[in-house]
């Protein structure tokens, strides 16, 4: 039997139906489910990843995980939260292994060399979208104080003079910016 995505209103309706049929032993439904997920997942993952190859690698791991853990899904519950929990788990796992292999470890946000060679350097920009997005999300005063002291290397005194504020204010803004970046990048 041929299952068409267009016969269902939402992704959840389609996936829930296919998962139910698959658990009853319908291989065609299982194939339709995995095929539809193989289209949805890379698009979903690309929102937060720099590389399409990464998205495909993680998609493959997610599909394998769904296959291994399908017996933990109950047809009387929605499919999407179950699938998204696996997606989030595998995505985090993949990125953890990737960064461990790269030997990046955890780099302090006070590491000016890291910031200048990756964050403000256009060639590395795509891979560190998360950091750049977090910086862009800072309030103006904190962003300016952070960039001037930590990226461009100005002293606190020079930053205070250039921005027309006090040295205490600059230190407070830098501290708050660091905290917000740490929260955003957790």
């Amino acid at each position: 039997m041929q299952y068409q995505r267009t016969q269902y209103d939402t992704n959840e309706d389609f996936w829930h139906a296919m998962a139910g049929y698959a658990q009853d032993g319908d291989k065609a439904a299982y194939h339709a489910l995995l095929s539809d997920l193989s289209v949805f997942l890379p698009r979903y993952l690309m929102r937060s990843l720099a590389s399409e190859d990464w998205a495909q690698d993680i998609t493959q791991e997610i599909l394998l995980s769904i296959h291994k853990s399908f017996h933990t899904y109950s047809p009387n519950r929605p499919f999407t939260p179950w699938m998204m929990a696996i997606t989030s788990f595998r995505r985090t796992d993949y990125l953890r292994q990737h960064y461990r292999k790269q030997g990046e470890g955890s780099v302090s946000l006070e590491n000016a060399e890291f910031l200048t060679s990756h964050v403000t350097n256009p060639t590395g920009a795509g891979e560190y979208k998360d950091i750049e997005a977090a910086l862009a999300g800072l309030p103006a005063a904190q962003k300016v104080a952070f960039e001037m002291t930590k990226i461009h290397g100005y002293s606190v005194k020079e930053t205070a003079e250039q921005t027309g504020t006090t040295e205490s204010s600059v230190k407070v803004n830098v501290h708050r910016a660091l905290k917000k970046l740490q929260e955003a990048l957790k």
């Binding site: 698959a22 291989k27 995995l34 291994k68």
Partner: protein, 215 residues
Amino acid sequence: MSDASDKTQDLIKSLSDSYAPQKPIGSPIKQTALWTAVLWLYFAAVLTLVMHVRANLMETLAHPAFLFEIILSTLIGLSASYASAVLRVPDQYNQRSITAIPLTLLASLALWLGLQLPYEGISFAAIHFNHCATEGLLLGIIPLSAAVFSARKGATTHPLAMGYMNILSIAAYSYVALRLACSLDSVTHSGFYHSSPYLIAGLCIGFIARKLYKW
């Protein structure tokens, strides 16, 4: 279509061809009930054949403080077992904060025992390989191995929490069993000798949880 995309399609074909429906995992309530029943059958056998219940058990059960401790520990064991069952499923049946219940009960027990210390006084006898520690290991090793083996059949996305809930459920039930067998009611004795094997096991599980519950 890229190479990676081709590989994905090949993977889907291979998974679909090899797909065979498996029996779905049971509800967490059923799993908890079954696990608790089997565990207590094992404990009953060990208590009867190896350890023997304390001579003054009936008299001690009449003390409200003792009864409170036993009931609280049992509730910790039950809630931790339930949390383990929930954690076997990737989305935890949408019960994200399920571990808060056993942890809160554990904190209450710790506080309860701690409040008794000023009345008893803290007396640390020389630490030795007390029979309670060996009996604790006897009560705990087989059930813990069974709990880990059973949890690996699931698909947890929180391996550390799973490890801690496994340990906590067995430690709590084992604490009850030891209190029924050991006539030493001192908080320092039960806090150290009854709990220490599980604290050590918990530390070890913490380091290897991700590998232990890998799927």
